[in-house]
Structures are given as structure tokens and as C-alpha cells.
Amino acid sequence: MDKSDYIIQVEHVTKRFDGGKVVLNDVSLNIKRGEFVTLLGPSGCGKTTLLRIIAGFTQPTEGKVLLSGKDITTLPPYQRPVNTVFQRYALFPHLNVYDNVAFGLKLQKVSEDEIDKRVMSALRIVGMNEYEERNVNALSGGQQQRVAIARAIVNRPQVLLLDEPLSALDHKLRVDMQLELKQMHRDLGITFIFVTHDQEEALSMSDTIVVMNDSVIQQIGTPTDIYNEPANPFVADFIGESNILNGIMKRDFVVNFMDKDFPCVDKGFEADAPIDVVIRPEDVVMHKDPKDGQWTGRVTSCIFKGIHYEMLVQTPDGYEIQVQDYTAYPAGTEVGMSVAPENLHVMPCQSLYNAIDATVIDATHVFMLGAAFETKLHTLPKGTHVKVAVDFDKVDLLDDPADGTAEGQIRNILYKGNHYFIDVKCSNGANIQVDTNDVWEDWDMIGISIKPEDIRIIN
């Protein structure tokens, strides 16, 4: 792809705030002219910061931003051919609708006639052309949103940035606005960069979705790619509902999970490679007769969701599977379940154990995760930098941070069918992952303990 087809290029952007907090970590992104791109992720993932860097309200600590090949990293916002629609609209309270929309044009010293033509045209596009004289403070949320959009597009920007513009609207209005924005994008032909935390919104509107989490891009792709082939457990869990289970790739086209072999369509893994398998609830087929399924279970809950029923099924082995079906199977029913091979999505496991940077303190202690951990006897000299391996299920999490050797905070919880897979950020900034059956909540402060025999020094 020719570089000139990219209207925005984000190159290795890192943003660090005073106090050391890293909000964007080496983020790179290329956006094609005319695309509808959505930055999608949970709060705090960095998506809004990235948008603001493109808009010019803040500057990256490292890295560059290019507009049609030109470096605009340090260019102030009023010199960029880019306009923003703010989350809380930011309409000027002392100006009426017409003057709000005309604001940018008046600064460009456009002629009165031209201003009038363009303002009325923009208002027509957003459906607010009867409202020019109105006081903006008297408008409803949806109407203010439209005026904000008109105010931005009337300047004919090369890129339109939208910062969660629909999050303050009620559901029905939101869905209507999504359709209108999509139509506007088609009619105007300019590049839209849209920020949201709502994955349904992203899936329905975007040409390309950029999934972000914890200051890093997790995956870039079309809505169908991201939905059907999530690159990692985070994306699989964030987009749509999913069942994510630990498994092993027995051999090509055969995956083993829940202690059973299943035919699938993936290949190219090492024999017995550990993997994660993703099954969408709507892809689980329910059988009235348990014997007809690939595995069995008992329904524990069945909720009507308007279009389908959402059910939870408990297997004899202790796995909890989420299922969506048009038929209701009431709680207590014994059922059979199966999945077509093409609906089993296999993802490589990032790893099976934590690889942690540590320093040797003495023959039986290392310093890692911000604390001194006791290990088995070893012969490395004091001060050596080593890598330590700790299996995911060998990390103990404790309620009271003071009871643990190290301390940390729960950051992301993934349910893996029969246990939880948790991201923990330790007090020294390092990230570790833990398998546990205990139920925790995001942002819990916890203590971390590891038995000496579970700490393996690997180099």
C-alpha cells in the first residue's frame, strides 16, 4: 500500500504523564483516507489520549503523528485540518446554534454568503436546519450532539474525530445516531476516527476497529475479523460474548479441551501445544437428548433476552458454558451440546508461566515484583539479574495486601470456563497472570505469595 494512501500515520507514540504513568506504550497505527476507524477499549486504555494527540490538544512523549505524510506532531490544534466532536458537546453557551456552527468559518474570514450557505447545508445534514436561532442551552442532548457535529463538519476537515459522542444519549437515540453517523460518513467521504468503549457500537459502524487495552493496541481488523478471529483472550472477551477455555492442540485439526477431543479447522501448531479456544455462545448447539451432544451438562439459568434465550450450563467436570439459543431450556434440564468445527476458534497461548525479571539477593532469596521472595537453594552470586518462571496456577492471591510477600492490583479478569485467568499489576509496575478459582473484582488490592519450590530460575 502506497504511503500516500494513509491520511494519518501514528508512529511509535508513547505518552507518559508526570508521575510516570504510561498511558500509551509504543503505539503505531495507519489510517486510510476515507475510512471509518474506531478506537475501542475499556476506560483507561489510552484511546482518548490517542485521539487528543491526533487532535493536537496534547503531545506524545515519544513518537510522531503524520498527516498525509507531513509531520504534525507539534502543530497546535488550530492549525490542523482536523475537527473534533467532544463527548460533552462543548457548544458555546453564549452563541446560538447558527453562530456556534459558523464559529470556525468566521475565523477563516469566509464571506458572509459562503458562511450562510455552508452553515445551512451542515445543519441540513444533521437535521437541525429549523433551529438556527435557538439557544443551545435549551436543546436536548441529542440535538446538541447534532449541532456539535455540524459545527465540526462545516469546516470541511480532512479528518473528523469523535470522542465517545453518543455515550450520553439513551439507547434508542444512540442506535438512531449510529445509523445517521454512518450515513454521514458515506455522504461526506471524509475520514472518521471514532472513540468508544461500546463494542456493539464499534462493530456496527466501523470499517476498521482498533482494539486497545492498557496503553497498547491489542488487535486491528475489520469487525468480522475481530469478532470471528480474536487475536488474544482479551479481544475475545471484550468483543461479543464468548466462552474461553484452556486446551491443547493435539495435532492439526484436533483440539482438546474439557478433557475431550474436538475436530476443528486450525492447524500449524506444535503437537500438544497449549492453546486457548474461543466458542461464541450462539455457536453452541443445544440438544434435547444429552446423548446427541459432544458433551453434556445441566442448565443452571435461562433468561429471555428478547431475540434469544441466554443460558448457563454446568458440565459434570465443573465447567460453566454460556449458550444462546432461540429455544428455551429451563433451569434444571439435562442437555447435550456440540460445536461445529469451524466455530471453534483456536488462539495460541501467550505462555503457560510468568517470566519475571528478578535480582539475586542471596542463596535463598531473589528480589522481584517489588519484594524479596524465598526460593530453593541455588548457587548464583548476589546481584545477578535472572529470569524467573512461575506457573500461572502457582501464584497465591490474598485478600489483605499486607499478608502477601508482594502487593498488587487486579486489572483484568477472564473467565475460562472452570477458573479465572487474572491480570495483576504489581506495586513495582510489573504484570503477572494468575489462574485461580477464587472470585475477585477488578481493581481489588491484593497480596501475592509464591511458594519457594514454585520459583524456577531459568537463566
Binding site: A55, G56, F57, P76, P77, Y78, V82, N83, T84, F86, Q87, R88, Y89, A90, L91, F92, P93, H94, F103, G104, L107, Q108, R151, A152, N155
Partner: protein, 264 residues
């Protein structure tokens, strides 16, 4: 019965409060030297207010008072508005707390302390006291009140509209002029009016900062005159005029705010 008692209480208090005022008002229309003896109705005191040597001095005092008030209020309003915007955008921390604290000092300090402290500063620096010193001092004690008036407006303002203006092509100065100032206008206006009031009313600060020259404001003029012999006959019409002016202003102000709240 409670009502009667309340009414009596308030009316008696009110009477005591206004007795001296009404007294002077009445006796400003007579030329008797001693307050209390009525030598016939006469508006001469009013006519002669601005004439003669005393009149010229009074003229000069009024001129100075108005000049100082306008200059100090104007500078305070601009300075205070910028300061309020600055403080509002500062991170919470030691520097912000220090500046907020220093801003509050002139409001807490008795005016004699403010006057003497600035007096000592000018003495130390070897600069003569006079009009310049007075205006500086007035700016110093008026600006905190402007900041106090503008801050609440800043807090009510949508924090994104400045960035929205930049985004639409305005430079920071343009954004300030076209978007922020209109938002803050009512706070700035009330701050300006408050500053004028404080400046006109001030006595102690002006006394110490005016030096030994000929700079007199209304307050210092009255002080100097009163020292000579209490409430001289000339001061009676002055007092009455000031009272009427304030009464009229207050009535207007109350009517205006009543109209504004009923308009909402």
C-alpha cells in the same frame, strides 16, 4: 404576639440605625453651625459645596477618588480574571495552595495592616508615596475580590469549550476573547463593581500610602476636615448626597436582580 415583638424590635433598631442619617439629612438644609438649631430652610450648603477653597479641595478629592477607583478596578478586573483562569487550570498542589492563600491574605488583613505594610515596602525601596503608591495598593486589595467573583463562573463553565475553540481554528488569544470572556462576563462585571466600591470606600490604606503630598481622596479629605472640628456644616450635604446616591443604586440593583430572576 411574637409578630408584634419582632416588628417592634426591628423597627426600633432600624430607627436607631437611621436616626443619625436622617438627622444629618434634615440639617443639611440649614446653615446653622451647630447641629440641632434650625436657622431656617436653606440650600446654600449644597450650593457652596464645590465653591471656594474648601470646594476646590473637595473637587480635587472627588477627582482623585474616581480616578483611583476606575484605574484600580480596571486593572484588578483584568489581572484577576487572568489569575482566576490560571489558578483554575493549575494542578492541585503546593504551588496552587500557596497562591490561593496569598490571594486570601488581603481579604483577611485589617486595612491598617495592608496600608502600613505597603507603606513600609515603599519606604524600604526608597520610592516616594503618592498617587502611584495608592493605586498599587488599591489594586492589591481589590484583585482578590475579582478572583473570588470569577472563580465560580469558571467552575460552572464546560471545561471543553476552550479546546473546542482551538479545534475550530482559534488561536489561544482568539479563544480567550470569543469564548471564555463572554462566559465570565457577569463575574467580571460584579468583580469590577465590587472593586470600585472597595476603592471608593477605602480610608486606612489610602491614608498611609498617599504620602505627604497633595493627594487626597474623599475619605482622607473627610478625615482631615473632621479632625478640625467634627461634622462641619459643609460635610452635611456631602453626606446626604452620598446617602441618596447609595440608596438609589441599591434600589436599582435590587430591582434589576428581581427582574433577572423572574426572567429565568
Amino acid at each position: 404576639m411574637k409578630k408584634a415583638f419582632a416588628n417592634v424590635y426591628i423597627w426600633v433598631l432600624m430607627l436607631l440605625l437611621y436616626a443619625p442619617i436622617l438627622l444629618i439629612l434634615v440639617f443639611s438644609f440649614t446653615e446653622a453651625k451647630v447641629l440641632g438649631s434650625w436657622t431656617g430652610f436653606s440650600a446654600n450648603l449644597y450650593k457652596n459645596l464645590l465653591s471656594g477653597e474648601a470646594g476646590a479641595a473637595l473637587n480635587n478629592a472627588i477627582y482623585n477618588t474616581v480616578l483611583i477607583a476606575l484605574v484600580a478596578a480596571a486593572v484588578s478586573t483584568i489581572l484577576g480574571t487572568f489569575a482566576a483562569i490560571g489558578i483554575h487550570n493549575m494542578r492541585h498542589g503546593r504551588v496552587r495552595s500557596a497562591i490561593t492563600f496569598a490571594n486570601n491574605i488581603p481579604m483577611i488583613n485589617p486595612d491598617i495592616i495592608t496600608g502600613i505594610s505597603i507603606f513600609l515596602l515603599f519606604v524600604f525601596l526608597g520610592i516616594g508615596r503618592g498617587l502611584f503608591c495608592v493605586i498599587c495598593a488599591h489594586i492589591a486589595f481589590c484583585t482578590p475580590y475579582v478572583v473570588l467573583n470569577v472563580m465560580p463562573q469558571l467552575m460552572k463553565m464546560n471545561p471543553n469549550i476552550y479546546e473546542a475553540a482551538l479545534d475550530l481554528g482559534a488561536t489561544p488569544m482568539q479563544a480567550l476573547r470569543k469564548v471564555i470572556i463572554p462566559e465570565l462576563k457577569s463575574g467580571m462585571v460584579s468583580g469590577f463593581i465590587l472593586a470600585i466600591t472597595l476603592s471608593v470606600d477605602d480610608f486606612a490604606v489610602t491614608l498611609f500610602t498617599k504620602g505627604s503630598g497633595t493627594v487626597e481622596t474623599l475619605s482622607t479629605y473627610i478625615y482631615a476636615d473632621a479632625r478640625k472640628g467634627g461634622l462641619t456644616p459643609e460635610l452635611r450635604p456631602l453626606f446626604s448626597i452620598i446617602f441618596i446616591v447609595i440608596l438609589v443604586l441599591l434600589v436599582f440593583y435590587n430591582l434589576k436582580t428581581a427582574k433577572d430572576t423572574s426572567k429565568d
